[in-house]
C-alpha cells in the first residue's frame, strides 16, 4: 500500500470522526447514567427505533453475558421504547428525530458516544435484533473473552451476522415479549456464504445466507453484507467506515488469518425474521431511511409475497455455539 493511499485513508478516518463530532448536536440526552461507568466496564452501544417488544429479552441477554452499561440512541420511537429504557438502572438514552440515513444509519451518533464514553473500554455495537455469540459463551462471560483478547493484544473481534428464520411463514408465530426469539426463528443456513477481500480496507466482504438465497438470486451483488466487527477495544481515534462492517485504521479489519490458521471469532444471531418483520419492512419502505434507498426492503417485499418461507430442507436448526464452530461459521482460534 502506497504512502499516498495510506494518507488518504487517514484523511478518510478523520473525516468520519469530524462528521460524528458534528452530529453530536442531533443527540439530546434523555436519561444519562454514564457516571455509573467505571474503568474496564464492557459497554453496549445501539441505535434503535420502535423495538419495545424486543427490549426485555435483549437487556436480559446482554446483562447475562456481562455487559455493564448500555448506551442507546432512540431514533424517534413512539411505542414506549424510550420510556422503557429510561427506567432501566444500567441504561443511558439519547433521543433524536433526525435522519437515520443521514447519520450513516446511526453510526455517526454511536461513534460520537463511543469516542466520548467508550475510549479505553471494550465496546459492543449491535442492533436490537442482533445477539452476540462467541466461543464458550455458555460457560464464560464476556469478561473472559475481553481479558483473553487483551492478553493476546487483539483489539477487534469479528462476529458474522447469521440470519435466523422460522420454519414456515415468518409471521406464523407471533413473538411474545420477553421470550427468546430463537425459539421461533430457530433455523439458519450453514454453508452458503460468499467471501471476498476488500483490497483497500483489508476487510472481508461476506454475503449470502437465506437473504441471498431467496431475495437476491438475480442480483447477488446487492445482497446485504454479513461481515461485522462489533466488539472493539475502542479508542477515540477509531472510526467505523460502513455500519460495523469495517473500521479504520485498517489493521482493525484483520480479524482473519491469511496464513491458513483460524483466528477466534463469533456470530451475531440475527432475529430479524419474526412476525415483527412485515410491519417493519412496510414502515421502512415509507421512511426510505435504509441502506441504498431501502433496496433491501423492496426486495423483501416482492420476495415476501412470492416466498413467504425462508426455510428449506437444508436449513440447520440452531443448538449452540459449538455447532456453529463445527460448521465452520465461527472459530475458537487458539482460545481453549
Amino acid at each position: 500500500m502506497s504512502i499516498f493511499s495510506r494518507y488518504m485513508l487517514r484523511l478518510e478516518r478523520k473525516r468520519w470522526r469530524i462528521r460524528a463530532f458534528r452530529k453530536r448536536r442531533e443527540l439530546k440526552p434523555v436519561v444519562s447514567r454514564v457516571s455509573l461507568i467505571s474503568p474496564g466496564d464492557i459497554l453496549l452501544f445501539s441505535t434503535l427505533r420502535n423495538e419495545r417488544v424486543r427490549l426485555p429479552y435483549l437487556l436480559r441477554y446482554y446483562r447475562d453475558l456481562g455487559v455493564d452499561h448500555f448506551l442507546f440512541v432512540d431514533n424517534g420511537s413512539d411505542d414506549g421504547t424510550r420510556e422503557y429504557l429510561s427506567r432501566q438502572p444500567d441504561v443511558s438514552v439519547w433521543g433524536t428525530n433526525h435522519s437515520y440515513k443521514r447519520s450513516r444509519f446511526g453510526v455517526d451518533w454511536l461513534m460520537w458516544l463511543q469516542s466520548k464514553y467508550g475510549h479505553g473500554h471494550w465496546t459492543l455495537c449491535v442492533d436490537a435484533d442482533e445477539f452476540f455469540v462467541y466461543p464458550f459463551c455458555d460457560t464464560r462471560p464476556m469478561r473472559a473473552l475481553t481479558d483473553w483478547l487483551d492478553a493476546s493484544s487483539i483489539k477487534a473481534f469479528s462476529a458474522m451476522l447469521l440470519d435466523m428464520y422460522p420454519k414456515g411463514p415468518i409471521d406464523a408465530q407471533p413473538y411474545v415479549e420477553g421470550h427468546d426469539p430463537f425459539e421461533i426463528a430457530a433455523y439458519f443456513d450453514s454453508g452458503n456464504y460468499l467471501i471476498s477481500r476488500n483490497g483497500l480496507y483489508g476487510n472481508l466482504w461476506i454475503q449470502g445466507g437465506p437473504r441471498a438465497r431467496t431475495f437476491f438470486t438475480d442480483k447477488p451483488e446487492r445482497a446485504p453484507a454479513l461481515n461485522k466487527i462489533p466488539l472493539v477495544k475502542w479508542d477515540r481515534d477509531y472510526a467505523y467506515v460502513r455500519s460495523t462492517h469495517m473500521l479504520l485504521p485498517r489493521g482493525l479489519n484483520l480479524v482473519y488469518d491469511d496464513w491458513g490458521g483460524e483466528k477466534a471469532s463469533g456470530c451475531l444471531l440475527h432475529a430479524k425474521f419474526l412476525d415483527t418483520f412485515t410491519a417493519k419492512a412496510l414502515e421502512e419502505l415509507q421512511r426510505r431511511q435504509h441502506y441504498a434507498d431501502s433496496h433491501e426492503y423492496k426486495s423483501y417485499k416482492s420476495g415476501m409475497n412470492a416466498h413467504p418461507d425462508l426455510w428449506c430442507k437444508w436449513s440447520e436448526k440452531y443448538i449452540n455455539w459449538r455447532q456453529l464452530e463445527i460448521l465452520g461459521l465461527m472459530s475458537k482460534g487458539n482460545w481453549a
Binding site: 460468499l194 449470502g208 480479524v255 491469511d258 461459521l329
Partner: protein
C-alpha cells in the same frame, strides 16, 4: 518437613490472598512478593487481609517487568526470607498469584517428603529447547539486552542484529552451562540455600542481570551446579499457546484440571469462581495417589495451537481466509470433475452414482443454473441453484459445496458450455480429479436439429474453449489429478478408464465393473465430422474417426460393452 510457597503477585491480589490463606492454613509458610508497580493501597489491603496469619510474610518489592532481572531479584529475596524465617521448610515451591492448587496440600507434602532430595525444575540445555520465542536461545546468554522488548521493540531487535553482525559476544562465566526451563520450580531447601549463599553468587548475579528473560534461566542453570538430584519437569501445570503466552483456565476446565492430577495449575482466570471454590474448599476425596500427568490435557491445547496455525483445510470463513497457496487444502475433500462423459454416455450420471456410491451432480456450472443431484433447487448448506449467485463468486460456491458435504464424495459434469472462470482454481486443487473425453461435446451437436451453419459456429466456439481448457490442464502449475482421452481413444476401450476412475472414487470397493454406461449411438458421427470439415471447420479434439461407419462397426458394435471377467 513442610513445603513453603513463594508467590509472585501483580494482579488479582484478592485471589492471591485466597490461595495464600489456603496454604498458610494447612501449615505451609508463604512468602509473598508483590510487584513494585502495584499501587500502595492495593498492597496494603493485601497485607492487612493476611495479617492474622503469622506464617505469611511479605518480601521486599521489586519492579518485575517481563523478561528482566527484577523477577529473579524478587525471587531471591523472597527465597532468602523463606529460608531464614521458616526452618521447618523442606521444599520451596515457586508459584504465582494466579496459581491454584489442584490437589490437597497433604498429598503434595507427602509426595515431596518421599522425594526429599529431589529438585523439581525444568532444566534443559539450549540446544534441546524447542519453545523459545523469537529464535533466541543460546543468544540469550551471549548477547546484551539493554532495551525493553515490550516497549522498545525496534531498538531491541536492531541491537540484536547489530551484535550478530559485528560478532559482539559476552563471555559465559566459567562453570556455567546455560539451561532453560519453566520459571515455576520446586527446589529443596539445601539446593536453594546453596544457590543463595554461593561464594560465586555475586559473579553469577552480575552475569545474569544482562541475560534476556533470566527468570527462565537463572535457577535452571545454577541448579545444575548444586543439586544432587534433578527431576527436569515442573510440578506446576502450565500450558503455552503459539505466541508463548500461558493458556488461562476457566470454570469449564474443572473436569480437565481434576483429571490432570497435577499439584498446582497456572494460570487461572481471576473470575473463575467455580474453580476457586472447587479446589480451595474440596477435601481429599480419598482418591489413590496418582502421579501428575499433564499429558492428559495436552491434547486440548495442542489442538488449539493447530487450529490457530493450520486451521481446517478447505474452510473459508470470517476468521480464516488464506491467501493463495496457504490454504492447507484449497478444498475440504477430494471430488471428481467429468468432462464429455454425459455427452458420450446416455445414462452416465445414474450409472456413476450406482457403481461408485458418490453424489453425482449434473453440470454445476451450467449457464442456466447449478444442476444439483436429483434436480434439487437448493443444496447442502443452503446453496441456491441460481447461476447469478454462483457466478458472482464461483470459488466460494465450489469450496462451500465441498465443505458442506464433507464425508460424501462429490462428482459433477463439466463442459465447454459451462462457466470457465473456475478452471484455474480446480486445475490447481490437489483434491480435484479431472477426467476429460475431449471433443465429446460434439455428440449433442450431432444429434441436434439445428441447421448446419449454426452447428458449425457453435462447434467452433466449443472447440476453442476446450482447447484453452486442455492447455491449462496440461500446463505445469496443475495440481489436480488429470486424465484426458480423445473421444476416439475412449470409445475404443471404454472399460479400462472407467474402471480406473471408479476405483479412485471408491478405492475400498475394489470391484470389477460388471456393467458400463450406455453409449450414445454414433452411427454417422464420422460423416458429421466430415461435414464440419466441409464447412470449413477443423474438428481436432475427437481423435481419428473414419468417415464411413463400416470400419468402426466391426470393431465396436453398438451394444452395452460387458467386461469379460
Amino acid at each position: 518437613m513442610s513445603v513453603g510457597f513463594i508467590m509472585m503477585c501483580h494482579t488479582a491480589l484478592d485471589r492471591a490472598a485466597q490461595v495464600a490463606r489456603h496454604w498458610a492454613r494447612h501449615d505451609c509458610p508463604v512468602v509473598i512478593h508483590v510487584d513494585r508497580r502495584v499501587k500502595r493501597r492495593a498492597y496494603d489491603k493485601l497485607v492487612s487481609d493476611l495479617a492474622d496469619l503469622d506464617n505469611v510474610q511479605f518480601s521486599a518489592r521489586f519492579s518485575c517487568e517481563w523478561g528482566t532481572w527484577g523477577l529473579v531479584a524478587a525471587t531471591q529475596s523472597a527465597a532468602e526470607l523463606m529460608v531464614q524465617r521458616f526452618s521447618g521448610v523442606g521444599h520451596v515451591f515457586l508459584a504465582s498469584g494466579s496459581c491454584l492448587p489442584l490437589r490437597p496440600i497433604e498429598e503434595l507434602v507427602s509426595y515431596l517428603a518421599e522425594r526429599s532430595q529431589t529438585d523439581f525444575i525444568e532444566s534443559v540445555t539450549t540446544e534441546d529447547v524447542g519453545w523459545t520465542i523469537g529464535g533466541l536461545d543460546i543468544e540469550r546468554f551471549t548477547l546484551r539486552f539493554p532495551f525493553s522488548w515490550r516497549k522498545q521493540r525496534r531498538l531491541f531487535d536492531g541491537y540484536v542484529r547489530l551484535q550478530r553482525r559485528i560478532g559482539l559476544r559476552r563471555r559465559i562465566p566459567a562453570g556455567v552451562i546455560p539451561h532453560l526451563g519453566s520459571q515455576w520450580w520446586c527446589l529443596t531447601r539445601k539446593t536453594l540455600a546453596a544457590i543463595l549463599t554461593s561464594p560465586d553468587r555475586e559473579a553469577h548475579d552480575h552475569y545474569f542481570r544482562r541475560v534476556w528473560i533470566p527468570d527462565e534461566s537463572y535457577f535452571q542453570t545454577l541448579v545444575r551446579l548444586f543439586s544432587s538430584r534433578i527431576e527436569s519437569r515442573s510440578l506446576t501445570l502450565s500450558k503455552f499457546d503459539f505466541q508463548g503466552k500461558p493458556h488461562v483456565f476457566y470454570d469449564d476446565h474443572l473436569q480437565l484440571l481434576r483429571r490432570s492430577d497435577c499439584f498446582v495449575a497456572r494460570k487461572i482466570w481471576p473470575h473463575a469462581d467455580k474453580l476457586y471454590r472447587a479446589f480451595l474448599t474440596g477435601d481429599s476425596n480419598g482418591q489413590p495417589m496418582a502421579e501428575p500427568n499433564a499429558g492428559k490435557i495436552d491434547r486440548l491445547f495442542a489442538k488449539a495451537i493447530e487450529r490457530r496455525t493450520k486451521g481446517r483445510g478447505g474452510l473459508y470463513m470470517q476468521s480464516r481466509f488464506p491467501k493463495p497457496s496457504w490454504e492447507n487444502g484449497k478444498t475440504a475433500a477430494a471430488y471428481s470433475v467429468f468432462q464429455g462423459f454425459n455427452d458420450l454416455f446416455e445414462d452416465f450420471d445414474e450409472w456413476l452414482a450406482k457403481v461408485s456410491g458418490a453424489r453425482v451432480h449434473g453440470h454445476l456450472f451450467a449457464p442456466e443454473r447449478a444442476e444439483f443431484a436429483d434436480g434439487q433447487t437448493v443444496y447442502s448448506g443452503g446453496l441456491p441453484d441460481s447461476a447469478a449467485v454462483r457466478d458472482y463468486n464461483a470459488k466460494s460456491f465450489l469450496t462451500n459445496l465441498i465443505w458442506n458435504t464433507r464425508g460424501e464424495r462429490q462428482c459433477f459434469q463439466f463442459g465447454p458450455r459451462d462457466l470457465q472462470s473456475i478452471n484455474p482454481f480446480i486445475a490447481t486443487d490437489p483434491n480435484a480429479q479431472i477426467s476429460v473425453i475431449s471433443g465429446a461435446w460434439a455428440v449433442p451437436l450431432f444429434y441436434s436439429s439445428q441447421d448446419a451453419s449454426e452447428v458449425r459456429k457453435e462447434a467452433a466456439v466449443m472447440q476453442r474453449i476446450e482447447v484453452e481448457h486442455l492447455k491449462l490442464l496440461r500446463s505445469s502449475p496443475v495440481k489436480a489429478r488429470v486424465r484426458i482421452w480423445t473421444m476416439a481413444e475412449f470409445i475404443d476401450s471404454p472399460m479400462e478408464p472407467l474402471q480406473t476412475i471408479v476405483d479412485e472414487i471408491s478405492p475400498r470397493a475394489m470391484r470389477r465393473l460388471a456393467e458400463a454406461p450406455r453409449m450414445a449411438d454414433l452411427e454417422g458421427f464420422g460423416q458429421f465430422l466430415q461435414s464440419l470439415r466441409n464447412q470449413g471447420m477443423q474438428p481436432t479434439l475427437m481423435g481419428d474417426f473414419p468417415v464411413s461407419d463400416d470400419e468402426r462397426r466391426t470393431s465396436t458394435p453398438r451394444v452395452r460393452p460387458y467386461l469379460v471377467k
